[in-house]
Amino acid sequence: MKNTLALINELKEKKLIADYAIGGAIGVLRWVEPFFTRDLDIFIIPSKETKKGVIDLSSIYDYLKKKGCVWKGQWLIIGGVPVDFIPVDALEKEAVEDAEAAEFEGVGTKVITPEYLAAILLRAGRNKDLRKVEMLLAQASIDGKKLDRILEKYGLAGKFAGFRRKHDGKG
C-alpha cells in the first residue's frame, strides 16, 4: 500500500494528473471499522482533456506500465494492490478538492471525507453502496450541515430522505 501510494503520488508530481483522492471502499474504511474489499478506488482530476468530452488516461497507464505495473482483469496492479482509476465528475471533483490529507507509513495521500463519500455512494445506489452509507452514518463523525449542503446541491436530498426512511425509519 505504501509503494502504491508513492507511485500514485508520482503521477501528480509528473503532472500526469492534477490531483487525486482515495474513495470507494478504502475511503470508507478510513472512517469506519475494517471490512473486506478487493480494490483501491482512486478518484483523479485529469491534468487535461485531450478532446472535448474525451479523457485520455493513456499517459497514466503508460507511465505505470514502465514502472512495472501489470494489468490483471479490470485492475492495474500497483505495488501489489489492484487499483481502479476513476476520472471525476462534478460531485467527485468537489470531493477530491475537499479531501482530507492523510499519511500511510510516512507517505502522504488524501482521503475523501465521509460526507462526500456518503453522497457519492448514495448516488450510486447499489445495495453494497448503501450498506457503506449506513456504516458511515453509524460510525463516522458526519457533519450534518455539510452533508445536507452536498445532497441539496447535487439533487440527492430526496434520495437520502428515502434511504433514511427505509433503513432506520427516519427522514
Binding site: 478504502i26 474504511l29 472512517w31 469506519v32 473486506f36 478487493r38 501489489g80 453509524a138
Partner: protein, 62 residues
C-alpha cells in the same frame, strides 16, 4: 420475556441490549483505529476470503 434474558460471559452477566450496545461501541472504537492498522486488518480479511472463503481471485495486499 426474551428481553429480560441475561447472558453470562465468564463472571459478567449482561442483557442482550447491553451486549448489542457494547458491540456498537466496539465498532465505533475500531473505526478510530489508525489507517495503517485498518489496512493490515483488511489484508488479513483478504487472506481469509482467499483461503477459507475459497475466493481464489482475491489479491492479498502487501
Amino acid at each position: 420475556m426474551e428481553k429480560d434474558k441475561k447472558i453470562v460471559i465468564g463472571n459478567r452477566i449482561i442483557s442482550r441490549e447491553e451486549l448489542f450496545r457494547e458491540k456498537e461501541k466496539s465498532r465505533r472504537d475500531r473505526s478510530r483505529m489508525p489507517f495503517e492498522k485498518k489496512i493490515k486488518a483488511l489484508a488479513e480479511l483478504q487472506k481469509i476470503a482467499r483461503g477459507w472463503g475459497g475466493k481464489k481471485d482475491v489479491i492479498v495486499w502487501m
